[in-house]
Structure formats: structure tokens, C-alpha cells
């Protein structure tokens, strides 16, 4: 009889213990990725899935599930409307989804600010790089260029397109943007054969080619990475406050370049556990070593900070949003 009582007592106490500190022992946590395997979002998620278990209470199994489509709106809608707020599903998707919400893209069924934000695992510094053999060594020289400089792009909505577009239309750079390349790697090849003169993109993806002296960096967006501090920022050349606001709006999501969220309504204690676990995982030397090998930099931006940035992006006055929508379309 005694052991039965003990068992009942144990069972009764168990939920209390669980409530005190979420414990994922024996559970499986799914990371929903809004893209197919192979890209940067997927690679980051798989790297974190390797190291996250060490920092979550109870060492759960962490698996990655790809949910591609609609430039990852599908994954965000799933996280917002379907996934249970029990801490067993976390999501990562296109950093530009707030832009989709801002410009009222059809099919958006989420409110970015209402997710339970874990934070961002990396930021992305967008830069413009042009061929080394061109006579323009810096931004001023490029601005004074007499001949058109041809920039290759993958298409509207990608940073290869939107960043140079604003440089051209708002700062008056003599750029000609040729879009339709199937990937940034294809633009790189077009640069090698001198079909185009340069491209915009993340510093991480351009770095090997800068090191190889094929291209040189000219100007960057606000978000930064080590090694880029000397490069001028596009916003600092803005002729009007409105132009500056549009540039700032475009680059704002780049600070939360690898967003990670829990479904809306996730209990605060679970959110806290995840925020702590992410911060610890990204600092973990084992994670850093793996990230260095894969040639990407991890950088934790807290959930609070992410929400602050998003609220700023999404509370822009209507005239700015209208002006912004003239230049920027949601994509990729």
C-alpha cells in the first residue's frame, strides 16, 4: 500500500516541478524552417539544432523540419495559427516578413509583433561591391562616375536588388540594375566574365571574393559586422529625411537576419528558457567553432530588441510606407 501512496504523491508533485522549470527531457523540439534545405536559413537552423540541446533543460532532441513556399510566408502562417504554444515548435523564416506585413502582401496571416520572440541568431551586413579593375576606389569616386556601372541582381525583394535600387534612385548613383540571375553565385560568375560590374549582397557571401581581390566593397547598409567599420553607410548620404527613413526601413530587418520565434501565447517561463538557451548556444565555443568552419558569423540579438525593431518598422506613417512600397517589393 505504501508504495502506491508514494507513487500517487510523486505523480501529484511532478506537474509542480514541471511548472517551476520547463523540462524537455525525452521530448522532441521541432525547428520549422521556411525554406528548402541548402540555403543560409536552413544551414543556420541545422547548426543550432546540433548545439541547442546542450543548453535546454532536459536535453531534448532537436530536429529540423523544412516548410518552404511563399518566400516562407507559409511557415510564418503555420507558426502563428497552427503550431501549439508549448515550447516544442520553434520557427525561423525570411527576415523580410515584416516588410510583407507592412506592405500588405496577400496571404499574410500573422502579426510579427505578436510572436513570442526568442531573438535572432545573426545579423547580416549588406554591402555593394564592384570589380577591382574599375577606376572607382571608393563611394565618392563611384558617385562621380561618368559611365554607367552595371549591377547584377536576382530580383525584387532580394538584397541584391533593393539595396542598389535605393542607391540609384535616392542617392543618384549611376547604376544600371540587371535582374534575373538565378542566384548570387551566378552574378559572381557574370562579374568574372565582366558582364556586370558588381553586385550587392551580404558581406559574408562576398568576403571570399573580396579576399581574392575580384571585387572591392564600396558602401554598406546600417547593420554591421567586424571588418566593415570603415565602410561608409548609405543613410549618411541621404539628401532628405524621407530618403533616409526609406533606407533605414529597408535595412532594419537585417539586424534580425536569422529570426527565431515561438508561437504567440507561449508561456513566459518557456520563452525565457529559450532566450537563455539561444544566448548560451551562440556563445558556446563549440557552436562558434562550427559556425566559423561553415563561414558564417553568429550574433545573438535578444527577443526584446527584435520586438522593439519590429514595432518601429511596423509603425511607420502611411506616407513613408506608400513611398517605400514604390521601391521595395517583398520577395525571396
Amino acid at each position: 500500500m505504501k508504495w502506491k501512496l508514494a507513487l500517487i504523491a510523486a505523480l501529484a508533485v511532478l506537474p509542480l516541478v514541471a511548472a517551476a522549470q520547463p523540462n524537455f527531457a525525452g521530448k522532441t523540439v521541432t525547428v520549422v524552417v521556411g525554406y528548402k534545405p541548402g540555403g543560409g536559413y536552413d544551414a543556420t537552423a541545422r547548426l543550432l539544432a546540433r548545439h541547442l540541446p546542450d543548453h535546454l533543460p532536459g536535453k531534448p532532441t532537436v530536429i529540423v523540419q523544412n516548410m518552404p513556399g511563399g518566400n516562407s510566408i507559409i511557415a510564418a502562417n503555420h507558426m502563428y495559427n497552427v503550431a501549439k504554444p508549448d515550447g516544442l515548435t520553434i520557427g525561423t523564416f525570411n527576415r523580410n516578413l515584416p516588410i510583407a506585413q507592412l506592405t500588405r502582401v496577400q496571404g499574410v496571416k500573422y502579426d510579427m509583433t505578436k510572436f513570442a520572440w526568442i531573438g535572432s541568431a545573426a545579423n547580416e551586413a549588406t554591402i555593394l561591391a564592384i570589380r577591382n579593375d574599375l577606376p572607382y576606389k571608393n563611394f565618392d569616386e563611384l558617385r562621380r562616375a561618368k559611365e554607367q556601372v552595371v549591377i547584377g541582381s536576382t530580383g525584387p525583394g532580394a538584397n541584391t536588388h533593393d539595396f542598389p535600387l535605393l542607391l540609384k534612385d535616392l542617392l543618384g548613383l549611376k547604376l544600371k540594375i540587371v535582374s534575373g540571375y538565378s542566384s548570387s553565385a551566378d552574378i559572381m560568375l557574370a562579374i568574372e566574365r565582366k558582364e556586370v560590374d558588381g553586385r550587392a549582397g551580404s558581406y559574408t557571401s562576398l568576403k571570399p571574393f573580396i579576399d581574392r581581390k575580384l571585387v572591392r566593397p564600396i558602401v554598406r547598409a546600417r547593420s554591421t559586422e567586424a571588418g566593415l567599420e570603415q565602410l561608409p553607410i548609405d543613410e549618411s548620404f541621404a539628401p532628405t529625411p524621407r530618403a533616409k527613413a526609406i533606407m533605414a526601413l529597408r535595412s532594419a530587418p537585417e539586424v534580425i537576419a536569422r529570426p527565431y520565434v515561438l508561437p504567440p501565447g507561449t508561456p513566459a517561463d518557456i520563452v525565457k528558457v529559450y532566450r537563455d538557451a539561444f544566448a548560451a548556444t551562440i556563445k558556446d565555443p563549440a557552436t562558434v567553432a562550427d559556425a566559423n568552419k561553415a563561414q558564417f558569423d553568429l550574433d545573438y540579438t535578444s527577443g526584446e530588441e527584435a520586438v522593439r525593431i519590429l514595432k518601429e518598422v511596423l509603425s511607420q506613417p502611411k506616407d513613408i510606407v506608400d513611398e517605400f512600397s514604390k521601391y521595395i517589393k517583398f520577395g525571396e
Partner: protein, 503 residues
């Protein structure tokens, strides 16, 4: 250079890389057999395993896996008419037709032997191209790539039935393919085209569900309606016998196999053209080898040359695709993009250094392709009797299994129910096309080339205005395209005059 070649071989033959290669082959074997689960996805899934490997071990593992996927994908395509991979759909047309005639053994023998020849030629091309790879790849700018897509589309003439009626149907089906390629967000203005207000279609139609629907569903319906096994009433003992005959076919049509392998290599080298194109261009070329319209009309009903061409091209393109990846750090296909990630993980920076400082590693890649294919083809021949026996299994036992594989395969491309829907819709399209005698190959060619043609035309005009039309390679490719279109007419004329001479 020779030293590096030998050193590369010795690198692969060390016991650890070799063991990893065998493990990779084992995985690739199954990935290829199962429809839908693509080589690229599997590569991405395997990437985390290489963190603690040496470069040679890691590449033996990844490339070993990757280079057998196409080979075993052909097996599924031939036996069941279900594309094992998106890149192995063309071999269905004649391969599965042979299986239905009870010649599964011969078809598999031919496919495997031509795959091996293709892989060897692709690897040899990779080794030979190393000194001249940079100028070779740099010759092909956007205008040239656009013209290559046009040459590819010109093969519709060879993929259609003979006569004016056949041509019109072929080009109409090709036009439908081009139209389907337009679905999704366009890369110039960012407008969503023909997406039916769904998010699913934003990124365009996925190739796998479309191909599986077009080719597998009609075969499954056919199998159910006939109520027999795939090989009909041919006794089981006879089916596997022709394997040696199939191998001999490769040597009987040696130059065709070589030419198709070269087509595959070339498509592989050219970044942006995409692997799915290679088999169709090779198949189109194989049909050109028919000497008379009667011979031509036998393609699609089980001509072994329709197996040899795609078989050779599918594997040779992998060697080719490695060339831009290694030399420029610019991947030629999705799989290569993932492999490129592998390079970085291992601390190697693809680029000119791979052709000088790391040359032995580069050659170890060549050897991995060669060895992996020899081993796989050997293993397949050992399993041949078991594999071909599947075509003698009664349809009512086989169909449920195939159906499950087909739908799981489609579903894996986006993990969305819409994938299943697309499969069913294109299954219906494919079924009625077969019923009405419309060719499906031009539709696929239009679909895989549409986006490439559109984008590179736009880039060419935006960048060079009209000046691109006078580039020498563009003119050469234009001449080839015209030649390809007129060739069937020339064939018909030649056989007519020959008949007239006899009479």
C-alpha cells in the same frame, strides 16, 4: 599533373575515405531508388556529418553518395515508369516501354552500362578540362546561355512525332511547358504571375510533382487497366536474360553513347542550365540517330537508343557540374551549391587554388566519381535478377506500393498537400496526353527551360541591347538550333529520295 592524378587516386584508396565512400554509396543507392527524395536534399541532410572528417573523407562520402543517385534513379524510372529523380525522367519513355515488353533486363543493362560510360567520360572531361576551365566557362555569358536554352527548345522538333501534325502538337505542348514555367513571382518586376492567389505557387511549379504526375500516374492507370504485371505475360525467367545484350547495345551504339555523354558534360559545365535539361537534350539527340521515319516512330515504344542517350548524359553531367564549382566557387546545380558549403566547412576555398595548390584533392573528386559508379553499377548487376523480377509481380500487388511511393515522393518536395494536388492534376494531363497521342517530352522541356530562357533573354537585352545578337557564339548556336529543327525534315526527305532511288 600526372603525379597529382595518381596522388588523388591514392588519397581515395586509403581505408578511411574508401569506407566513407562506401557508406555514401549505400545511402545514395536508396535515395536514387525512392522517387521524389532528391539528391540535393539528401546532401543537405548529410552535411552535418562531415564536420569532423578530413577533406578527402568528406568528399568521398558526399560525392560518392551524390554520384550514384542518378544511376539508381534510372532503375526506378525504367522498372516502374516513376521518375526516381527529377533528372531521370527522360529514360522512362523508352526504358519503361522496354520493361513493358518484358525487356527490363536489357533496358537495365543498357542504362547501367551507359551510365558507367557517361560517368567515366564526365570524369575524364573534368580531368582534361582543368587547365582550360576558366576560359571555357567564361565564354558563356547570358546571351550564350539564352541561345543554349533555345537549342534545347529546338530539340522539341526531334521529340515530337513526324509530319506536320506531330510537329504542331509537339510545339504546342512545348508552348504549354513554357507557359507553366511562367508561374510564380517574376524576377524582373516582382509580380506574382498565375499563382491563383495561393502562396504555394509563388515560387513556381516544383518539377518533381509535375514529372511524377505526368509520367507515373498514366503508367499506374495503364497497369491497373491491363490487370497484368508490368511485363505483361512474358514469363519471369526471360525478363532478366537480356542484361548482357543491353551492355552490348552500348558498344553497338558506341558513338551515340559518347556524344550523349558529352552533351551531359556540357550541360553540367554550364552553370544555370540545370541538371533536368541534360537527359532531354540527350534523348532528343538519340532520336536523331534514327535513319528513317519508320525507325523514328519506334522511339517511345522501347528503342534501346532512347535508353542509352539519357543514361549516359545523366551521369556525365555530374563531372561537368563540378568544373565551375571547383574553378570559380560558383556551383552549377543545387547539389553543387550544397557541396560548395561542404568545401567551406572543410576550410577549402574553391577557386583558382583548387587547380594548383589543392590539385590532388581535386583529382580525388574525379576518382570518387569513377569508383563510386563502378561499384554501384557492379552492385546493380548483382541485384539485376531481383530488380527485374519486380516487373513480373502482378499489378494489383505492385500498384499500392508504387502509389504510396509516388505520393510520398511528391509530398517531400514542399511538405504540402498542394504537392499531391499538383501530382493528380498533371497525372490527368499526362493520361489524356497519352490517350490523344500528344508527346509529353516537349512539355517538360518547355517547363525546365522556360525560366532560363526568359531570364537570360531579359539580361541579354538589358545589358547589351541588340548588340548581343552579333556575338559569334550566339550566331553559332543559332545555326545549331536551326539545324536541329530542320533535321527531322531532312531525314524525311533523305529517306524519300532513297526510296525513289530504289524504285
Amino acid at each position: 599533373m600526372l603525379e597529382a592524378l595518381l596522388e588523388g587516386l591514392l588519397l581515395v584508396l586509403q581505408w578511411k575515405p574508401f569506407a566513407f565512400m562506401l557508406a555514401g554509396i549505400g545511402i545514395g543507392f536508396w535515395v536514387g531508388l525512392l522517387p521524389g527524395i532528391g539528391g540535393a536534399t539528401t546532401l543537405a541532410l548529410m552535411l552535418p556529418f562531415i564536420y569532423n572528417m578530413q577533406p578527402v573523407e568528406a568528399f568521398a562520402f558526399l560525392l560518392g553518395m551524390h554520384s550514384v543517385v542518378a544511376t539508381t534513379g534510372d532503375v526506378t524510372s525504367i522498372l516502374f515508369g516513376v521518375p526516381g529523380e527529377a533528372t531521370t525522367a527522360a529514360i522512362i519513355l523508352d526504358g519503361h516501354a522496354m520493361a513493358k515488353k518484358g525487356e527490363a533486363g536489357r533496358a537495365l543493362g543498357a542504362a547501367l552500362a551507359s551510365s558507367l560510360v557517361g560517368a567515366l567520360i564526365g570524369a575524364a572531361a573534368l580531368a582534361l578540362a582543368i587547365p582550360i576551365v576558366r576560359p571555357l566557362v567564361l565564354t558563356f555569358g547570358s546571351p550564350e546561355l539564352f541561345m543554349l536554352a533555345i537549342v534545347g527548345l529546338a530539340f522539341i522538333a526531334s521529340l515530337s512525332a513526324q509530319g506536320a501534325r506531330g510537329m504542331v502538337r509537339g510545339f504546342l505542348a512545348g508552348g504549354l511547358g513554357l507557359f507553366l514555367a511562367m508561374v510564380g513571382q517574376d524576377p524582373q518586376a516582382g509580380v506574382a504571375r498565375f499563382t491563383l492567389d495561393t502562396l504555394y505557387l509563388w515560387q513556381g511549379l516544383d518539377l518533381v510533382p509535375v514529372l511524377v504526375g505526368l509520367f507515373a500516374i498514366p503508367e499506374i492507370i495503364d497497369l491497373v487497366v491491363r490487370g497484368t504485371s508490368i511485363a505483361g505475360n512474358v514469363p519471369a525467367g526471360r525478363i532478366s536474360r537480356g542484361a548482357l545484350e543491353g551492355v552490348k547495345d552500348v558498344f553497338r551504339h558506341w558513338w551515340l553513347t559518347v556524344r550523349c555523354a558529352l552533351i551531359g558534360t556540357f550541360v553540367g559545365i554550364t552553370p544555370g542550365l540545370g541538371g533536368a535539361v541534360a537527359q532531354w537534350m540527350a534523348y532528343g539527340h538519340a532520336t536523331q540517330s534514327a535513319r528513317s521515319p519508320e525507325e523514328r516512330s519506334r522511339f517511345g515504344q522501347g528503342d534501346v537508343r532512347g535508353v542509352l542517350g539519357p543514361g549516359a548524359a545523366c551521369n556525365s553531367k555530374e563531372g561537368g557540374a563540378l568544373i565551375p564549382t571547383i574553378a570559380f566557387g560558383v556551383p552549377g546545380s543545387t547539389s553543387m551549391a550544397i557541396l560548395l558549403g561542404g568545401f567551406f566547412l572543410l576550410g577549402l576555398v574553391p577557386g583558382p587554388d583548387m587547380l594548383t595548390k589543392h590539385l590532388p584533392v581535386t583529382f580525388s573528386l574525379v576518382w570518387t566519381i569513377v569508383l563510386a559508379n563502378i561499384i554501384t553499377v557492379g552492385a546493380c548487376f548483382l541485384l539485376l535478377n531481383r530488380l527485374t523480377a519486380l516487373t513480373a509481380v502482378p499489378g494489383h500487388l505492385l500498384v499500392p506500393v508504387i502509389l504510396v511511393l509516388v505520393f510520398i515522393g511528391s509530398y517531400t518536395s514542399n511538405s504540402s498537400y498542394a504537392d499531391i494536388l499538383v501530382t493528380l492534376v498533371f497525372g490527368a494531363v499526362g493520361y489524356f496526353m497519352v490517350l490523344a497521342g500528344w508527346p509529353r517530352a516537349p512539355l517538360v522541356l518547355g517547363l525546365v527551360l522556360g525560366k532560363i530562357a526568359e531570364n537570360y533573354l531579359y539580361i541579354s537585352v538589358a545589358r547589351y541591347e541588340a548588340a548581343w545578337l552579333t556575338r559569334p557564339v550566339v550566331l553559332l548556336l543559332l545555326a545549331i538550333a536551326i539545324g536541329v529543327i530542320l533535321y527531322p525534315a531532312f531525314q524525311a526527305w533523305r529517306s524519300r529520295t532513297r526510296k525513289a532511288a530504289h524504285a
